[in-house]
Amino acid sequence: MKLGVLYSGGKDSTLAALIAKEEGYEISCLISIFSSNIESFMFHTPSIKKTGIQAEVMGIPLIVQNSEGKKEEELDDLRRAIFRAKEDYGIEGIVTGAIGSCYQASRVQKICRDLNLECFNPLWQKDQTEILEDLISRKFEIIVVGVFAYPLNETFLGRKIDLSFVREMEVLEEKYKINVAGEGGEYETFVLNCSLFSRQLAVKSFEDSGNGNSWRREVIVE
């Protein structure tokens, strides 16, 4: 079956794509929504425009859809992008990296149903510590590019997802109820390398912006 992956450039959508490929599915295209609403509940925004280079090193075409990110209207943008994927690449299903967000998952499910597409969420309800440990054991190279919850701050930007990061997140989960894998939007990531990539990406430069407990890093990668 040909699938399109809703792709943010982060760890969850990349892992979901890898699992789909491992299970024998063809990833025909990636679909990224470039939302101008940096506070979107639906779409990951930090460093989103770098998904182009990730798609390039994966050798998979990328469909980009711009969105103003207005709540619920942004779903029309997502629907348009998925429809394009169906028309242009003949996809029969969509893959997402949704873990526990019923808000996101239910909206994507509705769109898929309307477009007569299957919907796959291979990380659904997975334990978040296990997801991070799985990523590490699979030798993913991932950095943090956005933080949006107390007590996370700018010192987390650029941090690699490794075992010490996982242990630190577990302590924060215990104390502050942070989702270990950032499923509640606490932090966003960018994948620099994994087995889907033909080569490692390197951060050439970056620009940070934010204040308090809300920070984002826009990376330039090569």
């Binding site: 149903r113 299957e118 796959f120 990380l123």
Partner: protein, 182 residues
């Protein structure tokens, strides 16, 4: 040993509809084994102390075209929990009818004064189904309803339970209770 029955047509859906239930069982140190509904043998049913029939995706109609594969339910006597598609199968095996009833997302159901494997009063649930109950199977009673119709059914004589919603999302303890006390 708990027998988990996978009714998904696509192997990628195992991660979404079967694995979350496996994880609940593992967390509670319950022994289990998984079989696809097309591969169930008599020895599996004999070895199982209880059975959970997992759900499937909105577009998955494969099991609807293979009702014969579930004939074993008619003579089964051990505790059985059907989730979503699994609940539809249960009802269908006893003459129940289904109808179009699309629902996805969070909703609330009210068990009122009843207690269903630890769930009571108003409970938040996650729905993902294309079909619902038009008429429940023989000897099944309705235990809870929502704006989308009948959500929970129970056989009056056998330990058979069906939930149209997906407890593995918002009501994990319900599955734990079924495993311990079902």
């Amino acid at each position: 040993m708990i027998l988990l029955i996978n009714i998904c047509k696509e192997r990628l859906h195992y991660f979404e509809f079967v694995k979350p239930i496996e994880d609940i069982l593992k967390k509670n140190r319950a022994n289990y084994f998984v079989r696809h509904y097309k591969d169930i043998k008599n020895c599996d049913l004999e070895n199982a102390e209880k059975v959970i029939i997992c759900g499937a995706s909105l577009k998955d109609f494969d099991f609807y075209n293979n009702w014969k594969s579930f004939d074993w339910i008619k003579s089964f006597e051990k505790p059985l929990l059907g989730i979503c598609g699994g609940a539809q199968i249960l009802s269908k095996m006893f003459g129940g009818e289904l109808k179009n009833s699309f629902a996805v997302g969070l909703d609330k159901i009210n068990f009122e004064e009843k207690c269903f494997f630890g769930l009571k009063g108003k409970v938040e649930i996650y729905q993902l189904h294309q079909l619902g109950f038009k008429k429940v199977g023989r000897n099944f009673e309705k235990l809870a309803i929502s704006n989308f119709g009948i959500q929970v059914i129970k056989h009056k004589k056998k330990p058979f339970y069906g939930v149209l919603f997906h407890p593995e999302v918002r009501n994990k303890s319900m599955i734990t209770e079924f495993v311990k006390n079902g």
